[in-house]
Symmetry: C2
Subunit: 292 residues, 2 copies
């Protein structure tokens, strides 16, 4: 943990408006979502996942995706992207004018089947198609690999399998891979070794980590990944997220705490601590799940 | 963070019955305190700070110190000790039959004055006397240095000063020094560098760390200290502690979370995870401050 071995700057990828709010059972007014995203922009966030283009039958909370994206204040140099579950989502995102989308699949067969009703191979083929189509529209693709640190159904996931999926996603064109610890199963040892392994298999795509909360251990996990050379960290203002219908699913790493940890360490995030704390409070005010 | 660079075993020093409960405004029945301590013994804790021999005018919650110590189940190989503020406390502890006591002073002049109404030099002289007297009774002395990672009044504390105090305490006979992050001001960088510096100035005394909660960052701080070579970690079951009359004072690192982190990393604590979680729940049931 010598300062000279650590980066001077890191990037926060803010997922609060999407991963944080998607499971809220009561619809959050579109104006509130827009206000939240504008506050994040104002706090200095430069990469924000603002919504999800998914069928409203599955995620009714995100039914206002197009309106949210069209009405937020878009600041020069800030990337606003959205999760898409499939080609249809990509088409909606392109139609709405997005320049970047985010795909998701799980490294666990059982979890992938349960979550998006596809096998791992089917998901890979879908994301290959998404990349092909996105490229023709000049749209960039970021890709999550969920359950990278363990699966609530299968338990242990071979890190080599996660690395192989990462390499496949890179070969399709995904410019960044984010390793998701979907249900808070990582520990500082795996949070160090797994990103290190996956990164060693990537030629040009960048690698991020996406930890869910486990009583504060998520901060230690982010620290361990920093030491493994990771410089891109997913977080949700207020630590939002989690689903009451998915036992074991907890909220995301709270962006404001992660920012404070890095800034105290002398590592710049480009984010204003007081403003991101305000974003956290605002997010919690929207949310009924945030105490999970 | 390679497994071969980290210890295979660590020791938890449990402070819940003292540091966790001392600020509770409602008196906790002696039987409940005893039940808590017995549960900690049963969970596998091998070092437990069970009470404080302090004038009941200052800490009424600990007025049953002698009774608590006399009635707990004392397991072979487990050390039960108590905080003492001064020579008078030592006399009471010796009278009660303790074989180990714990002293406290702050590295910050202002905080030491406010907390125990002595200058740093006066505290050092007092602890020297305590060590002398304790030695004649065969009683071991452990010593806290509070505000080792920053002071809520003075801010920055020169780590060299902390190291000098540690060396002085060692020279008086304290067999172990514990660096306290009294109000959660540490970060992983200081949690690595300060213990490393202090340890380099100690010839034989062991060194422990004592982090208070800061939204989960305490886990990252404990991890950083582990990487700095520390193997003794103070915690309070349930994350108890904190005082409503001392703004900024938060609870201690929750023992059960720290145990889970280390055990997930393959580092043995000797403590049963399920049983220590039960201790955490029990502690919270005693406590009105535990949500601070």
């Amino acid at each position: 943990m010598n300062a000279e071995d650590l980066p001077k700057n890191v990037t926060i990828f803010e997922v609060g408006p999407r991963d944080g709010l998607q499971n809220e059972s009561e619809f959050i007014p579109t104006d509130k979502k827009i206000e939240f995203i504008n506050k994040l922009t104002d706090a200095g966030c430069r990469r924000i996942e603002v919504t999800s283009f998914v069928h409203p039958k599955w995620v009714p909370q995100m039914k206002d995706a197009k309106e949210v994206f069209s009405r937020i204040n878009k600041k020069e140099g800030v990337v606003y992207n959205a999760l898409i579950p499939n080609i249809r989502g990509l088409e909606l995102a392109i139609d709405a004018g997005l320049k970047e989308v985010v795909t998701i699949m799980s490294s666990s067969e059982s979890h992938n089947k349960k979550n998006i009703n596809m096998s791992v191979d089917e998901s890979l083929r879908e994301i290959e198609e998404i990349n092909k189509k996105a490229a023709t529209f000049g749209v960039k693709v970021r890709s999550y690999i969920a359950t990278s640190f363990g699966c609530p159904i299968e338990g242990y996931i071979d890190p080599e399998k996660v690395a192989d999926i990462g390499a496949a996603l890179e070969s399709y064109g995904s410019y960044e891979i984010s390793l998701g610890d979907t249900t808070g199963m990582a520990n500082p040892m795996s949070a160090y070794s797994i990103p290190k392994l996956v990164r060693s298999k990537l030629k040009k795509s960048s690698l991020a980590v996406h930890y869910h909360r486990f009583n504060g251990m998520e901060l230690a996990n982010n620290l361990a990944s920093l030491q493994a050379g990771i410089t891109i960290f997913d977080g949700a203002a207020g630590g939002l997220g989690g689903c009451p219908y998915a036992p074991g699913a907890t909220g995301n790493t709270a962006t404001e705490i992660m920012v404070e940890m890095f800034e105290r360490m002398g590592i710049s995030t480009g984010i204003d601590i007081e403003k991101i704390k305000d974003c956290g409070s605002f997010a919690k005010s929207l949310c009924t799940l945030c105490h999970i």
